[in-house]
């Protein structure tokens, strides 16, 4: 009897352990199954009412029923959020008899909360979405309403006209449009920030080319021992030196592979296909140049493990130059006015007059929930929030007289209460062109910005993003290798460049990189075919 008890308990123990393992493995698929089961794809065609003249949105549209639209946006709740949106809703109620109730999902939690909000079947109408904020994922799952041209022309005509054709093309998923993009494909170029006072001290010319920049770095490295000529970090696997020194001169741009520079394309050539840049002679030349700069001590030895933001380093004077988004110039410019008036901020176009990649219009946008009960009113709300001037001004800048004011020549000044309503949440899809200049921006900012905007090109692959579903294992293995080797090679830390580069290439092909290449080529070809339809 005792023996039997023993045997039974052993069997139960084994079964229980099995159960533990199976639960552990089954967890992730359970989640996505649930998500798929509880969302339904509803594609609705335009309503059957006759459409009036496109210029008057109210024509032929019934706005007699008051509707409260629920919207989700990303970001921090601004202090004066309720105040400003109260005003916005007053205007909206007057014009389209609807108000918008905004709920915010914080930056750190949108990864978890965003899909949850759909999967749990919550009732809402509008939601912010973008190429980097789960647009593709959710569009495929059928979470968003498909917007037809008729619907857009009838309910959101100004938006429809405002977004260029490339934008609508980019927004298509499987032939249907699921979001309203912004009309601003962003500034994809960067600026070189330098300490102007140091440049003048050593009598150097303005930076019009890479050679000029090298002269500046050399002068600082020789003469100013406490500052690094250039400061960078390894916090996000993305070194702007590579962009400025290698990609830009050759008109190369990375294909969006989830944060790793696996393949590139030539953005000035509309027929360009994805290619691998690491075995090209230009890449090797670049690596040698970077290693040379590193040896001369142009940046710190701890750049590989540096986590501090490069602009932060530059603005406290740890480095004498930095390369970053031109939008950060104003922040430093104003900071130095107060804290370091003897330092001069100079910014230069890092593209040195070359052509710039087109960028994506999907960087910011609004989508309508597939199961929304008031999709037409939601579309109208998007239209009014974007193009109705007084409402749009409230969304973009806050309340005039409290948060900002305009100078006689139309520039924007921040008032003391400006920090209570900033653009620190995702209202940017309403922040359309033309932009209002800020009176306390760096004097060169708008000149460089508009010059760069005028040199933008457009290529079908601009908004393409790789779907790694079929190549998960190879992708995981290769991305680790990219993360490991790219930093060492491209920040100049390698002692034997050819050897390390060959090691890198051999290793990734051993990890199945050719499968990734085929997958990228296949997806890109499909995407281009769709895009050009």
């Amino acid at each position: 009897m005792r023996n039997l008890y023993r045997k039974i308990s052993i069997v139960i123990a084994v079964v229980m352990t099995f159960a533990l393992f199976i639960t552990g493995c089954g967890q992730s698929t359970q989640q996505s199954d649930q998500a798929n089961a509880t969302t339904n794809a509803v594609t609705s065609s335009g309503p059957s009412e006759p459409s009036g003249t496109p210029e008057q949105p109210d024509d032929g549209i019934d706005t007699s029923k008051y509707v409260v639209l629920k919207a989700y946006m990303l970001g921090d709740k601004q202090e004066d959020h309720d105040l400003v949106w109260g005003e916005i809703n007053k205007g909206l109620k007057e014009k389209i008899n609807a108000t918008v109730e905004v709920n915010l999902i914080g930056w750190g939690e949108y990864e978890e909360k965003y899909p949850l909000v759909f999967a749990s079947g919550e009732d809402f109408d509008l939601i912010y979405t973008a190429s980097w904020a789960k647009y593709l994922d959710q569009a495929i799952k059928g979470a968003f309403l498909a917007l037809t041209e008729d619907m857009l022309k009838k309910y959101a005509n100004r938006v429809y006209e405002g977004v260029p054709e490339a934008g609508w093309k980019q927004a298509k998923v499987n032939g249907k449009i699921y979001m309203v993009p912004t009309n601003n494909s962003g500034n994809p170029s960067y600026a070189i920030f330098i300490r102007g006072d140091l440049r003048e001290k050593y009598g150097l010319p303005e930076i019009q080319s890479l050679e000029d920049y090298e002269k500046f770095l050399e002068a600082v490295s020789q003469n100013e021992k406490g500052i690094f000529p250039y400061g960078d970090n390894n916090a996000n696997n993305y070194w702007l030196l590579t962009t400025v020194m290698l990609n830009q001169p050759n008109n190369w741009r990375y294909i969006d592979c989830g944060g790793y520079d696996m393949m590139h394309y030539v953005y000035t050539d509309p027929d360009s296909k994805p290619f691998f840049r690491y075995d090209k002679p230009e890449y090797l030349e670049y690596l040698k140049k970077v290693a040379e700069w590193k040896k001369k001590g142009y940046w710190s030895n701890s750049s590989l493990t540096e986590k501090t933001d490069r602009i932060a380093m530059f603005s406290v004077g740890k480095s004498a130059s930095a390369i970053d988004h031109i939008g950060k110039a104003s922040q430093i410019y104003n900071d130095w006015k107060n804290n370091h008036p003897e330092w001069k901020l100079e910014i230069y176009d890092s593209s040195f007059g070359g052509k710039l990649p087109g960028g994506t219009y999907l960087g910011d946008g609004m989508a309508i929930r597939a199961t929304s009960k008031n999709p037409e009113r939601a579309l109208m709300a998007i239209d009014y929030l974007t193009w109705e001037k007084d409402i749009n001004d409230l969304v973009r800048h806050g309340i005039r007289g409290r948060h900002y004011d305009l100078t006689p020549d139309g520039k924007k000044i921040s008032l003391p209460d400006a920090s209570k309503y900033t653009s620190g949440y995702s209202m940017w899809n309403f922040d359309v062109l033309p932009q209002i200049e800020s009176a306390d921006a760096h004097p060169k900012y708008s000149e460089i910005n508009s010059s760069q905007l005028s040199r933008k090109t457009s290529h079908p692959l601009d908004a393409f993003a790789l779907n790694t579903e079929n190549i998960k294992t190879e992708y995981a293995a290769c991305s680790n290798l990219f993360a490991e080797y790219q930093a060492i090679l491209e920040l100049g830390f390698s002692n034997d460049i050819e050897k390390d580069l060959n090691d890198f290439i051999t290793k990734i092909y051993a990890a199945g990189f050719d499968k990734i290449v085929k997958e990228i080529e296949r997806q890109a070809a499909e995407y281009i075919a769709e895009y050009n339809k």
Binding site: E79, G186, A235, H325, T422, D431
Partner: protein, 301 residues
Amino acid sequence: MGRRAFKYSKETVVFNIIAYLFTAILAFLCLLPFLLVVSGSITDESSIVLYGYRLIPVKISFDAYKIAFGNPTIILRAYAVTCFVTTVGTFLSLFLSSMAAYALQRKDFVYRNFFAFFFYFTTIFSGGLVPWYILMVKYLHMKDNYLALIIPGLFGVFNMIIIRSFMSSIPDSITESAKIDGASDFRIFIQLILPLSRPVLVTIGLFIALEYWNDWYLSMLFIQKDNMYPLQYFLYKIISKIDFLRNVAARSSNINLSKISLPSESFKLAMTVIATGPIIFLYPHLQKYFIKGIMMGAIKG
């Protein structure tokens, strides 16, 4: 005479010195990170970037605290929420867990094995995040509700098992004699068993309280209104925002993301001090219960 009853032998002295030294160094190493946090929180932001974290700040500035308390209503409200949730949650959770533990250790409870297995079984499986979320929000209507912060932590099966083990070491004769005198089960529980179980209750109570105090996950999922945020959630939001800005935003070519201001390092540290401060002060008071609890268990064996 004034002489000690016995002399410490030489070996004991040497051993004591080494033991004390070793423990002291270890204790200091444990204390070091916290000291860095405190010192970092009162350092000027630019000197952190220039010189890194130092034990003694290069340049002292209380800016981080000024920003944190700049809108004191938010922080004070968050403190209030956290204290409320922790006290109510701990009290209820202890009560429920110990009741269940007592019932399960009573040998005259016929179905105790079934219930023990049932409780244990629930710790093996979970339905997943989405079904739980749907249950809480759609069916139990616990969104934006303090109940959502309290209820999920109310019954920890492992806590109950620990309490049960302790209670089974209380002699049955106490219960029997009380029954003979005519006491109801509940009265026995409240008036006899609970006072005797004080060590384990305090220990488990502290664990539960720490869990409630440190929790941010529940508020992330279920709380939308910003006047209902607990303290840890604030800290979590700041840190995850920094993570987001460093990784996603920096990589993305969306220039708007670069307009989001990065919370400063010193602010992050100041929030940490604010969030963990009370616990640090509370610990020494509870320490004597801990020690008593450990010693009690040792003697009983």
